[in-house]
Symmetry: C2
Subunit: 554 residues, 2 copies
């Protein structure tokens, strides 16, 4: 490869490329660097016991002096959830919209992180640094106060859309088309755009249409309405509040995250209702069914959320009564379908009516579909294009859309996390790599779980384990007692007949032979035990539990 002049402008992601989650993007010019978002990712089923996944912050720690600010596009977990972890090591001011800032503050309070400087931004905010300046444009998404970020560098404007749709009849504030046009007229060097729905043709349904479906429900339902949705979708919740007020229903807000965002939403004026419209969860029983709305968490089938506990009959204050209508104002993300269906089935069994997105338009995606993605490209008309926020096939498809919109294929970059793109008007190339492997959080441990621990958990989860404890006399080189075998997650010992006794005999013979053969090396005895027990158990049970020999010396 020919050596090229190193360019001053670098764009890369620590998370968010080739995946949905942990959005963490860096735009760097000379000695200044901005971070756009700092999210977490929720683990899939193969990450046994992991609570969440972070981006690798090594580069940010090592280049802390360059970091002029953290710019947050909106308050979803996959955009802000990493902040409490990053801010343990890296200090920088946070810029974000009102709702996002409130959510971050509440999160940092929980994590006992203090001393962070916040700047609440709006459509007119301009943040100037030495060589770069940062501006914002309001977008529409499934959470209030979503913004795109414009980083102006001497090389040109870099636009990061954040998550967006073009909701032309939004419930809250709308997309600022004028600001987008203004940026476009200045010229856009590079556009980084949300790829989530790049495989979905068409134009997404407006939140107002969802409001009509919600009103239809309130118009027709006679019993209680139990409305489950994402706690952060404050516009959706405001529509439920509006319909409840119109049909003279009291409301109860149920679930920890719902209570929190509801409080913030009211404080910021996004939810408007008089105090007397609400009852506490303990007072629900005093209100006639046809005058009661319960707004709760759990629309993704989360086992610990309010709705799952109501379905299981384990919620302390709320149980399903005849005439209840339960609305799932959501669509299950892949991986949650089975849990959601399980909750729906349980609710059906105890007699509730269920309304979900397949039978009524009670949900719409927060991410624009193909026509909206093309509209964003056409409005901003960038020289270069980087699809972000998506699994590989989504990024790939988004590039096809960009090509349809006239961006040459060679000006589109599908990057991996960690790929450093150096860019100027002449072109771009991946000129390096920064560490961007996933970092696992389990309990209070960050990054202390690696492949070996995960592999052990997988093996243990499949066939359990067999522990063989042997007491060996170091001097006499002989077994002191018969080896003992303990199992967990393997078989019911009670139902396994002579299996364990046979294993003990087998091991005893093996060790006696090994010791007689003059072995002094305990690790070779352990290996011999594994080599004899493993095939024996497989032949008897068809299973391969983890075999764990423990030698005690006397």
């Amino acid at each position: 490869m020919e050596t090229k002049l190193k360019k001053d402008l670098k764009i890369f992601a620590l998370g968010g490329l080739g995946e949905i989650g942990k959005n963490t993007y860096v735009i760097e010019y000379k000695n200044e660097m901005v971070l756009v978002d700092c999210g977490i990712k929720f683990p899939d089923n193969e990450l046994f016991g992991i609570d969440y996944v972070l981006a690798d912050y090594t580069y940010l720690k090592q280049n802390q002096d360059k970091l002029v600010g953290i710019f947050v596009t909106h308050g979803h977990e996959d955009h802000i959830g990493g902040l409490p972890f990053l801010l343990q090591d890296v200090k920088a001011p946070i810029y974000g919209g009102d709702f996002a800032v409130e959510l971050i503050k509440s999160k940092l309070l929980e994590h006992k992180i203090k001393g962070i400087k916040f700047h609440q931004i709006n459509n007119d905010t301009v943040v100037e640094f030495q060589n770069i300046k940062v501006r914002f444009f309001r977008t529409t998404h499934s959470i209030a106060d979503s913004f795109g970020v414009v980083v102006t560098t001497p090389e040109g404007n870099i636009v990061h859309t954040g998550d967006f749709k073009f909701d032309l009849t939004p419930v809250g504030a709308g997309t600022d088309f004028q600001k987008i046009a203004e940026i476009s007229s200045e010229g856009v060097l590079c556009l980084l755009s949300d790829s989530t729905n790049s495989e979905v043709p068409g134009f997404s349904v407006s939140e107002k249409r969802v409001g009509e479906a919600i009103e239809d429900i309130f118009q027709t339902v006679d019993g209680r309405v139990i409305f489950a949705t994402f706690a952060s979708n404050i516009d959706r919740i405001q529509q439920v509040v509006k319909s409840s007020l119109k049909y003279n229903r009291k409301m109860a807000i149920v679930g920890r995250s719902m209570e929190k965002t509801f409080e913030i939403g009211r404080r910021l004026g996004y939810i408007s209702a008089p105090d007397e419209a609400f009852v506490s969860v303990n007072e629900i029983g005093k209100v006639p069914s046809n005058e009661m709305t319960i707004i709760c968490t759990g629309s993704q089938g989360e086992p610990m959320a309010a709705l799952a506990r109501i379905a299981n009959g384990t919620h302390r204050q709320i149980s399903v009564i005849p005439g209840d209508t339960i609305v799932f104002s959501s669509s299950p993300i892949p991986g949650n379908t089975i849990s959601v269906n399980r909750v729906i089935d349980k609710l059906h069994r105890i007699g509730a009516e269920i309304i979900h997105h397949k039978i009524s338009e009670v949900h719409t995606s927060g991410h624009g579909k193909q026509e909206e993605q093309k509209l964003m490209i056409k409005l901003l008309n960038p020289d270069f294009f980087i699809p972000i926020h998506g699994e590989y096939r989504m990024l790939n498809q988004h590039v096809k859309l960009a090509e349809q919109c006239g961006i040459p294929a060679e000006n589109c970059f599908i990057l991996d996390n960690g790929d450093v793109l150096e860019l100027s008007a002449e072109g771009g190339q991946v000129a390096g790599k920064v560490p961007a492997q996933p970092v696992y959080v389990d309990g209070s441990g960050i990054g202390d779980i690696g492949h070996i621990v995960l592999k052990d958990r997988r093996v243990l989860s499949q066939d359990g384990l067999v522990i063989v404890t042997m007491m060996i006399d170091r001097e006499k080189k002989q077994l002191v007692n018969k080896p003992t075998v303990v199992t967990r997650g393997f078989v019911y010992v009670r139902e396994s007949g002579d299996l364990m006794k046979n294993v003990e005999e087998l091991i005893k013979d093996k060790i006696v032979t090994e010791l007689a053969g003059g072995t002094k090396d305990w690790s070779s005895i352990k290996k011999a035990v594994i080599d004899v027990v493993n095939p024996f158990l497989y032949s008897q049970t068809g299973r391969r539990p983890m075999i764990l020999p423990i030698i005690m010396e006397v």
Copy 2:
């Protein structure tokens, strides 16, 4: 409850109600009983390490003398997969269509089960027993030779649809509307009907339409076509064969189950192509790309199937080359979406073009939608209705459809597995229960895994385990050595600093105290160890591994 006269006709399921899978239905009249289907269910993510789930066959074992025959509606695993397990204890003749019988025979051969009597049935077959007779009507589904079953009893006709859609332009044989009309004109006491798609409005797409989409692909694609679909969908495969022949492509059949069903399909005449149209997997490289079709398994993202291995670069003979088009002729079942997307992403990354059901009509469901379910009810006009083959919400929705078709609500029965419905023209009631809990198969063990083993596997998968081995002198009542701590799936010991040393000290102190307190009871020492280690580890790591104390006596 008033005592009613015990009725002679009983209908119940050992599996298949409130779930998708392990279809196992019993229709019993006096001393005669027929079994309709005997399927397995694939485990969900919560059934750690379980290979598959069976119905409980206790009732069948205890009433073997009544069992006149096993009637198989079609050859899918959730209808035949339980046979090798049932037939270990219960002998009965098997009646089924040609394709199903071939699949069962091949399955019994693998399980080394011999001496089973088979009867190949067709549309005209009548099987007469003492009080009952059994007939069949051809249906359409996503596998060749699917039949509905009619059990004629002195109380009336019981109709079991099997899995069905109404494909009016099928690829293979079509629905026998005349036979259905004939049964209907005799009168139907009770209809048991497939509920899978009861939540989906409309009428399903014909297999012929899929054939057109397949032909479109062959008409336009220049490179190799790698076509992944369900091995059992022999009509789908025949359409690929037809298009391949038309466009002068050689074919290779890849994947164990694909090879097996392909061989059966050709033998039975459902797939027609000359021998010279095929090449072995080793000869693929010799054929020009635009003259090659690879038909393979793995359309559900199964990690061990051909397609996943091709995507991972671990298939011994096949790797993706530029110009390859890979067709997923399937739609992911819930729970498989993430695996399917993972395979698609990997194939995209290595440069393949991907066609799937969302961007082309390359798949259609084998289960009729609402209009087809209503058509079945209207055609058969039963007195009583039992929705089968579905999760609870599907059964529930199917009853709503039945009511729309004029079946009174009180004549519809949503049963659970094990509920015994006694039925006559006067009405029905659940009059008892038979054992119908799921039975887990793990390795060669059947039913030896219960809740405790599964719970242990879950705990082990989440936070791993900590084994504490203590050597205690029985006489002197004291610790012989320092306790040793071994962990698996918990933390990297290397990264855990003094954690394990601290645990060992903690335990030592605790045991010394316990022994000094005069404890003679080892189980109370074990409990004391757990009680001290558990909160300590939680405070240090936020995790709750399984604590397993082992005491060795000297």
